[in-house]
């Protein structure tokens, strides 16, 4: 008995060392980015003992924020992510409601088309999407950045699954009270699915905020870029200097990190629900 207890505690000790050791490795690059960003230009940021010693400065942030493009990129990223999130929630919940609770001709076919779309990665669509945007004269525009994200059917799938679980009696009772379909959707299904909607919202926002490949192709004008597209161009102008790009990295990461800290549970729930990268 004592033997097995001792073995258990040695096992746990190894787990603690491994767990927190890995945490240090996981945090090191981020800590290094954050600290580097507040060091004066030309500091020796690779000498560990020097890294955490004064002087510190906010000049790098002043410099980055003094660059007009960074402001446009932040504005574009925020606008695109917000619009994509709001519209995704609206469009997907309406569609999910129809697929879950309304009987109509062709429902099966549409559901199969939705399932198929789940499997198609944007990477395989970049050429035709670009051709379509050229035809519509939308290259370098907000619609070009927003519209393809709205065609992702993941939310329809998730919300339909949730709606399918809402008891029939609730809907029947609302119908007896004279509520129409729109009313049932708006004041019964939406409030009931709050937590699934929240998970979907945060997941959509973070995905959109970090989107790289499509915005990289759809936008060529500097002032129309989003942060992930803009930052690497900003950086290549400063290859020798790594302190200023790190300040830009911190700024670009702040909203995502904040969203993560505030809504961690929802994000993790979102992944468990979807199982899709």
């Amino acid at each position: 008995m004592t033997n097995s207890l001792r073995r258990m505690s040695i096992g746990r000790l190894i787990l603690y060392v491994l767990g927190f050791g890995l945490a240090v490795i996981w945090l090191a690059p981020l800590v290094w980015m954050i600290v580097t960003a507040v060091k004066p230009a030309g500091s020796a940021v690779t000498v560990m003992s020097e890294l955490f010693k004064a002087p510190f400065t906010l000049d790098n942030y002043k410099y980055v924020l003094g660059n007009a493009s960074v402001w446009s990129w932040t504005l574009n990223s925020s606008l695109v992510a917000l619009v994509v999130t709001v519209l995704t929630l609206l469009i997907n919940s309406l569609a999910a409601f129809a697929l879950s609770r309304i009987r109509f001709v062709g429902k099966q076919l549409i559901f199969w088309l939705v399932l198929m779309g789940l499997m198609v990665p944007i990477e395989a669509k970049i050429i035709p999407l670009f051709q379509i945007m050229v035809d519509l004269n939308l290259i370098n525009s907000y619609p070009a950045l927003i519209l393809p994200s709205l065609a992702a059917p993941l939310g329809v799938f998730i919300l339909k699954q949730f709606y399918d679980g809402i008891p029939k009696d609730l809907v029947e009772a609302a119908k007896i009270d004279g509520a129409g379909l729109l009313r049932i959707y708006w004041s019964l299904f939406l409030p009931l699915s709050r937590s699934s909607m929240a998970a979907l919202a945060i997941f959509t926002f973070v995905t959109s905020w970090n989107n790289y490949l499509w915005p990289f192709l759809a936008v060529t004008e500097e002032k129309m870029m989003t942060l992930p597209v803009g930052i690497p161009t900003f950086q290549s102008a400063y290859t020798a200097e790594l302190i200023i790009p790190m300040a830009a990295n911190v700024l670009a990461s702040l909203p995502a990190i904040l969203a993560f800290i505030l809504f961690q549970k929802h994000i993790i729930k979102g992944i468990t629900m979807t199982g899709i990268k």
Partner: protein
């Protein structure tokens, strides 16, 4: 049930609710899939005019050694990244599931990089991996490694670098999937095993791992698809180099279509990507529906 279709009113209502989704979905999901297929049989000029050329794009693709190199590079990354990301992901999930003090903190830390943009991730790692001044080499020198390692200038080391950055960035996702699986294992299974005198290792091998079979399958499929789409890490960290040794299929599609302006061949290659992903997705879907 299938035969009992709704009333006329319900039919109209159904499509009204679906209308916004259907419009967008048709334009930016269904139509591109068809259009990409059509384009793959055409030669597209710089001014975007198409001429039908039959299977030429496909034959040209098959004869292009760079296409095969990019395809091989992509498979190579799938082969090295999938086992690594599964093992590390499972290890992290086991650590987080072990009721240690500070579990919430550990889980957050392991997952945190996942919410960062690929641009930020690449930028951090390029600086960490730099020779002479990079954090990693400085650390290795301290540990007694004398030689200077040029992480991104040699194919094998470049792949290792990309793998390290990818693990750091995305393994939190796999951890969450495994964690969900671990939490579904009934506690009485472990209790029964303890009563039978099974130690921690024995419990891991005879209870935990077999119970995770489904999650494991799901994660392997998802990881394979995700690794197959590799673009950002290689494009931003190595530009596909040294030479073309880390150029992936997606990067080659991008270069063919947007730099060489050969949208026809790029579409043919996109269809290879499309077919491979669909293949894996079908496996995933089969697995999802046969779960019970």
């Amino acid at each position: 049930m299938k035969l009992r279709l709704g009333s006329k009113g319900e039919n109209i209502a159904g499509y009204l609710f679906l209308l916004p989704f259907l419009i967008i979905y048709s334009m930016f999901m269904l139509y591109p899939i068809v259009r990409g297929f059509v384009t793959s049989f055409h030669k597209v000029s710089i001014s975007m005019e198409s001429t039908f050329i039959g299977l030429s794009n496909y034959t040209q693709m098959i004869r292009d050694k760079y296409f095969w190199e990019a395809l091989w590079n992509t498979f190579y990354f799938v082969l090295i990244s999938t086992p690594t990301l599964i093992i590390v992901g499972l290890t992290l999930a086991l650590i987080v599931n072990a009721n240690l003090k500070g579990t919430t903190f550990l889980r957050s830390v392991y997952f945190l990089p996942f919410v960062l943009s690929i641009s930020v991730i690449s930028s951090i790692w390029v600086f960490i991996l730099q020779p002479y001044t990079g954090l990693l080499n400085t650390f290795l020198h301290k540990m007694g490694v004398v030689s200077e390692i040029f992480w991104l200038d040699e194919p094998t080391l470049a792949w290792i670098s990309i793998l390290i950055a990818t693990v750091w960035w995305t393994v939190g996702f796999n951890m969450v999937l495994f964690l969900a699986g671990l939490q579904e294992i009934p506690e009485d299974l472990y209790e029964a095993a303890r009563i039978d005198g099974a130690g921690t290792w024995r419990q891991l091998v005879s209870i935990t791992l077999p119970s995770l079979k489904n999650v494991m399958l799901l994660t392997v499929v998802l990881q394979t698809i995700s690794s197959f789409k590799l673009f950002g890490q290689t494009y931003l960290m190595t530009k596909g180099g040294p030479g073309t040794s880390t150029r992936t299929l997606v990067q080659y599609i991008y270069e063919k279509g947007f730099i060489e302006r050969d949208m026809g061949t790029a579409s043919a290659m996109s269809y290879v990507l499309f077919v491979v992903t669909i293949l894996f997705a079908v496996i995933q879907f089969k697995f999802f529906t046969n779960k019970d």
